[in-house]
């Protein structure tokens, strides 16, 4: 009885939301709870575009070969005497790049887990193909039309929030493309037609379009617009003294936090952070300077701010980061690295079993390298994502999310 009453309430209230007449409290209450299990779980995926150099991010400082392969761009050992410019030790073998210092407390509190020597088994070293494979969740298969996140949305009976899946940025990410409604959003405040009369006319035109793609996009858009109306006018102040960096990525995470805390029913978000393709001068004079250090500082500060801002809500959230492939184990001739193979992933969340570096380390001796040049792969990225989909989101259909592959859980959750 209670259950059906709730569904009734949800559906009729959703109809009101659709018409833009629902009071704020009702809109919020709608998506705040789903039964005895409490609030819905939220999955956030971060893509580091350009192939981040995993070996200088999670530094195998216990591996002698690492220092031999990278005479000028290796991150110095933790005991080098210059703490600002040395690896931050994690477990005696692995450590973090010094610019990741803001994330160290999260690791220590066991809310941040790292998976190393992980990635896509496909051998491609093309940015485009590798990103495509990772985002579709089907390495080697180009024909897959939808993205893994779209398929990973748990099946729901009845209505779902129009902002259930949000891709940050001006274009829809490949990861979130698919049959389930998902929206691309640059900013919460800008997500509206700025003239109410015109908005109505546009809505009618898009709904009436004979082009099914336009019609579907229009329906999703205007439903999301009415959903977000209520939170557009409020200025957002991050909690816990969080300071997001003034960067695209910082801004994306801030909006994600706002969406989560406004209880508009978001279950999934995607954001990317570009600029990781460091063929030249990856490191400056010191380890804490240069191209990679700058990217990592932005990355770490934004994630740290998000963590602080979310506070207790982090219990519902898991954040996972990935990059299309790693980079050559040896440095190239221009103080950078070329396209490689395996990489690292970060998983952060209230219920994540953090404080550990997961995965089997394959070693960096020549015969241990993939094609004699790159870090070999020992964990498939779908094992990490699959576990989050199955155990964090509670979606039992994980084989449908990664067709043709059965994820072997890593034990992160």
């Amino acid at each position: 009885m209670i259950q059906s009453r709730r569904i009734f309430l949800r559906n009729s209230a959703l109809a009101m939301v659709g018409m833009g007449t629902a009071p704020l409290w009702l809109q919020r209450a709608l998506y705040a709870n789903t039964g005895s299990a409490g609030r819905k779980k939220i999955l956030i995926a971060i893509f580091q575009r350009g192939a981040a150099d995993g070996l200088n991010i999670v530094v195998p400082h216990g591996e002698k070969a690492y220092y031999n392969l990278r005479p000028t761009i290796a991150i110095p050992r933790p005991d080098s005497g210059d703490a600002q410019n040395s690896t931050i030790d994690l477990d005696g073998f692995f450590g973090l790049h010094p610019s990741l210092a803001p994330l160290k407390p999260l690791f220590d509190q066991q809310h941040l887990a790292i998976v190393d020597a992980v990635g896509s088994p496909d051998p491609t070293r093309s940015h485009f193909d590798a990103q495509d494979y990772m985002e579709s969740g089907t390495p080697g298969l180009k024909a897959t039309r939808d993205g893994w996140m779209n398929r990973a949305l748990p099946r729901e009976l009845g209505e779902v929030s129009p902002v259930r899946a949000v891709s940050l940025g001006a274009t829809m990410s490949r990861s979130m493309t698919g049959l389930n409604p998902a929206i691309a959003l640059q900013s919460i405040a800008g997500f509206q037609v700025k003239d109410a009369e015109a908005a109505k006319q546009f809505e009618n035109m898009y709904m009436g379009s004979k082009d099914p793609r336009m019609q579907a996009a229009g329906r999703e858009t205007f439903a999301a617009v009415s959903m977000l109306q209520s939170i557009q006018k409020q200025a957002y102040t991050p909690a816990g003294g969080a300071e997001y960096p003034r960067s695209n990525f910082g801004n994306s995470l801030k909006q994600i936090a706002q969406l989560i805390k406004s209880n508009v029913g978001m279950e999934m978000a995607f954001a990317d952070i570009g600029g990781w393709d460091h063929h030249v001068n990856e490191m400056g004079q010191h380890a804490s300077e240069g191209l990679l250090a700058t990217r990592l500082a932005d990355y770490a500060q934004a994630l740290r701010a998000f963590w602080q801002d979310m506070g207790d809500r982090m219990q519902d959230v898991a954040v996972v980061t990935m990059s299309e492939f790693g980079r050559t184990a040896h440095e190239n001739g221009t103080r950078g690295t070329d396209h490689g193979h395996a990489n690292c992933m970060f998983v952060m969340g209230g219920e994540v079993k953090g404080g550990r570096v997961y995965g089997q380390w394959p070693g960096l001796e020549r015969d241990q390298l993939y094609e004699n040049r790159d870090l070999a792969l020992t964990t498939d990225f779908r094992d990490v994502l699959g576990e989050l989909v199955a155990k964090h989101l509670g979606n039992p259909q994980v084989n449908g999310v990664f067709p043709g592959y059965s994820p072997k859980f890593v034990g992160l959750t």
Partner: protein
Amino acid sequence: MRKKAAIALVCALSLATFTGISAYAGKKNDEQARLFAKQIPGAERITQALNRLTFGARPGDAAAVRSMGLKKWIAAQLNPDSIPENPVLTDKLKTLDTLAMSAEELVKNYPTPQMVKQMVAGQMPFPTDPNRRMMIERLVVKAEKKQGQGDQVNPDAPQAQPLADVLSREEIRALRTGTPEQRRAAFQSLPKDKQDDVIAAMAPGMRQGLFQNASPEVRRKIVMANGPAQVVARDLMESKLLRAVYSNRQLSEVLDDFWFNHFNVFLDKGADRYLITAYERDVIRPHVLGKFRELLEATAKSPAMLFYLDNWQSVGPNAPQPRADAKKGRRGLNENYGRELLELHTLGVDGGYTQKDVTEVARCFTGWTILQPQRGGAFSFNKRTHDSGEKVVLGVTIPAGGGIEDGEKVLDIVAHHPATARFVSTKLAQRFVADEPPATLIDRMAQTFLKTDGDLKAVMRTMIDSKEFWSEGAYRTKMKSPLEMVASAVRAVNGDIDYAFPLANQIAQLGQPLYRKQEPTGYSNSSREWMNSGGLLARMNFALQLTNDKVPGVKVDMAKVTKPSDPTSGIALGSPDFQKK
């Protein structure tokens, strides 16, 4: 209808040996083939031509094509030199003086703050043009003043002039208050030599207030005062939009957009901010209807590409090493360009090359470098850093002992490779015909490519003469890119662009910042890229803003447009129909 279904059923049954799935795929392909075979009627052919071969129809364009004859119009578009350029465009481009400059001149005349510092230190010459020199000297004064703050004041620095020293109180008040027209009049009434001082002394906010109503010359001084290096990027964006909107050689402009994107470079990567002007002007534009091999070589030898894909620093194993400085490390190979040349510029990712080929190609291009890229230097081949060992590229042996010809040989191999013919044809067909162009069309275009030694005009002709181009499978099936949307909207309302930078910002909002695609892939040619909620909302808002005459720099006359149903109303320009081409 029923008859057609019956035929389809017979077709499906005749594929009895196929599995269920391929029978379905077969059926879908049949449907596709039917759509690409079915020709659109005559009246729609003109619309199709204007949609695909231009940046959208202006009022009167369709009638003009009809009276000229579609065939003749297309022939002219394929021979852009035969079309007199629009004097309106020529006039509007006149103030954008960076467009004609060499990279070296750009660096000198529009320096970054660091370069201004170098000029002060005597490490770089000041510009020769007296006006610009004056503007830069003022910047120097300002920079030194800023540096002086906190530190001790440099006693040799000339005194920076605050606004109060240049103008009377009344004059300052007139510039700060009143309508934009009044402010403009107040500024214009100042003597010419004082105007420069005033701009330099103004706070940025006050400058911006003057901007909107200022003459092109004064606007330029304002931008210059905000930072000379910005002028170069702004001029590129201004010119791209002005040409898209006003050029009579529309197909040539569409192709410039296509080929720049195919050989993408990124404005914000270091020295490239000064190298792209010459790249677009001298490398891309002259070759868009020429031979692919020449276009390819022009990109390979362009400082913009050499810098963007790092090849200028890639050297062979016997290259002289910098002094034994452990921190600097050994210089060596960088395979970035080698890979993208094969994957993105020529063969395509499935073109049948291996990692070994990538490395071998990279070896062939060692020594292809730039002299002083930060000063706008030119391409140069450095024999001493070239790897002269033997290489094998795609099965072809390139003997030891070669020089610059090693790289040129690679360009020969890939430019004439069947995979390149297919890859280039597929991309063109995807841009001009359909998101998923039919294989039969690609085959014919690729054949033309191979038969004509990569003559891009011939390939375009094969495509435009094809039945697929004029079919229902193509007609109004593609979504406009943000650049196409914005340019076509301005064209549809006959907008008068005074300055185009705000339009360029709109395009960035819609998801396609011009000259700022960081990845070497360029923007996707497929509609799918642009079909999303945030992007659609931004398009609707832009349409309203434009037709309400609220986009700075563009004047539109909407006096005659009264109903939302008018084809050039804001509602019409934001409608689903207008997003398609």
